[in-house]
Point group: C2
Chain length 425, copies 2
Amino acid sequence: MLKFKSYYDLKIDSDDKRAIEDAFKYLLYEKERQIGGYYDLPYSSQKLLKQIDDFTNSIKEIYKSVENIVIIGIGGSSLGIKAIDSMLKHKYKNTKNMLFLENPDPIRLSKMLSLIKKENSIFIVISKSGTSIETISIFKIILRYFKFDFSTIDSKRVVAISDKDSPLYKFAKENHIKTFIVPKNVGGRFSVLSAVGVVPLALAEYNMVDILKGAKEFLDNFFAKKEEHLIKKAYFYAKKHKQYPINVLFPYSDSLEDFTKWFIQLWAESLGKIDEKGNSVGLTPITHVGSVNQHSFLQLIMQGPKDKTVTFIKIENFENALKIPNISLKHIEKTDFVNGYTLNELINAECDATKESLIAQDIPVDMITLDKLDENNIGKLIIYFEILTSFTATLLKINPYNQPGVEFGKRILKEKFVSKNSSLS
Amino acid sequence: MLKFKSYYDLKIDSDDKRAIEDAFKYLLYEKERQIGGYYDLPYSSQKLLKQIDDFTNSIKEIYKSVENIVIIGIGGSSLGIKAIDSMLKHKYKNTKNMLFLENPDPIRLSKMLSLIKKENSIFIVISKSGTSIETISIFKIILRYFKFDFSTIDSKRVVAISDKDSPLYKFAKENHIKTFIVPKNVGGRFSVLSAVGVVPLALAEYNMVDILKGAKEFLDNFFAKKEEHLIKKAYFYAKKHKQYPINVLFPYSDSLEDFTKWFIQLWAESLGKIDEKGNSVGLTPITHVGSVNQHSFLQLIMQGPKDKTVTFIKIENFENALKIPNISLKHIEKTDFVNGYTLNELINAECDATKESLIAQDIPVDMITLDKLDENNIGKLIIYFEILTSFTATLLKINPYNQPGVEFGKRILKEKFVSKNSSLS
């Protein structure tokens, strides 16, 4: 169960009401017309589960000995998978290990290669366009390093996830590599509940049924107008985006650190845009993990410019009873007031104390509380942030589903190598 | 060797010159009067190395079998150590493993406890005040979990680093635990070159001599007026802090991710302050790692509000020749333009391409280039960012060395438990 509570004033007049009603209608329209495509995933991705079962049955001998699920992907093709893996792995004792090859960093990649054995791994290469330069380059390094030969059983150790008929899709088909398709209308950063996330996570034995179910429940509630808090929050963000251009996401749990990285892409890439009138608009996401980052960032929020909203995420029950023992250390008795309490109680009390000190400074704060960190809540949390993004974008009159600003750098990159090559020849 | 290059215009008139000259004089004054204390560390910390040698000799039998250096600390008592460990560990094949117990997160802490054996570990508890609630609580958990008895040889497995005469210091002294002292005038976020960083990293067998030497070289150059680029950058940040309230640090190397977390504390906690006139001022640090975060944050920098400066960090030579093999995958030939190049070349070309696309959008950009990721450069990089912080703070007329904004939350936290305890009794 998720609880949402905001601690800021939002006066809604009749113009505001109309803007909100219009935006809600527009989201319904997006959903019905399959724009931004993710609205359908909690339903449509359920069929993937059967396909994944069929696939693992078809490679039964290989799958039995698989210990590592190696993900080759970057951005929208890795962040969501990593987020769910990090949030859930404490619950699964025998889950297969997920390893992520994302950045073309030579030090990190060498280290990762030394940890991987072909014999106990499945390699999942994910690229929506099928031509991501980092992903395909790393895939080639893997093929050479492990001496892959697709005319042998090696082809059964690879899975490709891509747009239908993309270059990667065609390559895979011709080499008897299993493929799964990302729906064309689903952008990378909204794709975690498509094959992009569902296939790798199901192969790693995570319970994707319950994640999809959680997402579906929230989605249905939202369109049945039962999640008004989301609409109000999006409205506050959009209306005050010049006063509060920075949104801080501050979960009190290490397990959510990778989730915050997924959120950064979702928020930054969707909302940093040129609007209808040619103005640069956007909301800047910043993420921190509590209580550890109280010790690095809180001072700035408290006394720096009042340009930030803060969203806390708190887990009520960690299902872990680690306790601060009743030991009094001579001279340090001052810290004994937490003796006998669980770390669960300590970290949540810190979250509440930080929340209260920000509220006292008139900083717009809201709190999302999960009763526990489980599949259903994670599904809800994902779709909550996706809808919040779409709703805020609609109010800001920008398109959350494209990313025209990154194409220029890609062209420059290519030119650098092409000019190098031609000067060599 | 470090190279610094900026790509923005800064017109300096005679008033500006005077402000810069005054700030420079003020930093000299801080250095001479030992305000902010860190200026002295590249010199004074050299004597620590002998003390550490004496200590390891005194516990020779224990130290021989040590595999893990377990750090119990949070904020300024862990971020700098972790930063250096992450930047250097690829160079050291047989270094002892560093494990960090920072956040009172029950899931993470349970996981870490399962990885630690008392018999092959040294536990370093670090708290400047000696009463950090998270650190002392985790320390108590360690004491109970591993059944520590300080009347035995157990006392030789613990090291305490703290202010002289702090509660932790006194506790350690009475229990025959080895202590090292943080100079009183050195704040947590400026303390990595004090005992806080030097002792754990030297115990993990990192070459601290060369790190301190690098820092000293940069510091001497700065005060000999040979690092003018730093002064200009600080001036640009301070003068335009309302136009560019956000500073993005964007290294192209996974090894620097923890360094960026150290930077966040340094920048946010030092510069987020109420100034002489009672105004909230501050610069907000955001950090990303390339090329991976081009796929999540670049769109916002390119097309969102023009409120960000960007500092790239590039490593010229990774000392790792991992290459993209000359394989052409049918249908994906479009990506072949990087074939035969090293990942080193790819990641740096991506850095340059991103830099150029931001410059084309008139975004203030600068580039720090390390010829390689070694001890000397790391020492320089640390002191560079510390001086940049002090200089910027001086120009903004704020005190970078205190953090009054976080005390309120600490009081609320304590009240929560005290009221719980009294309602129980």
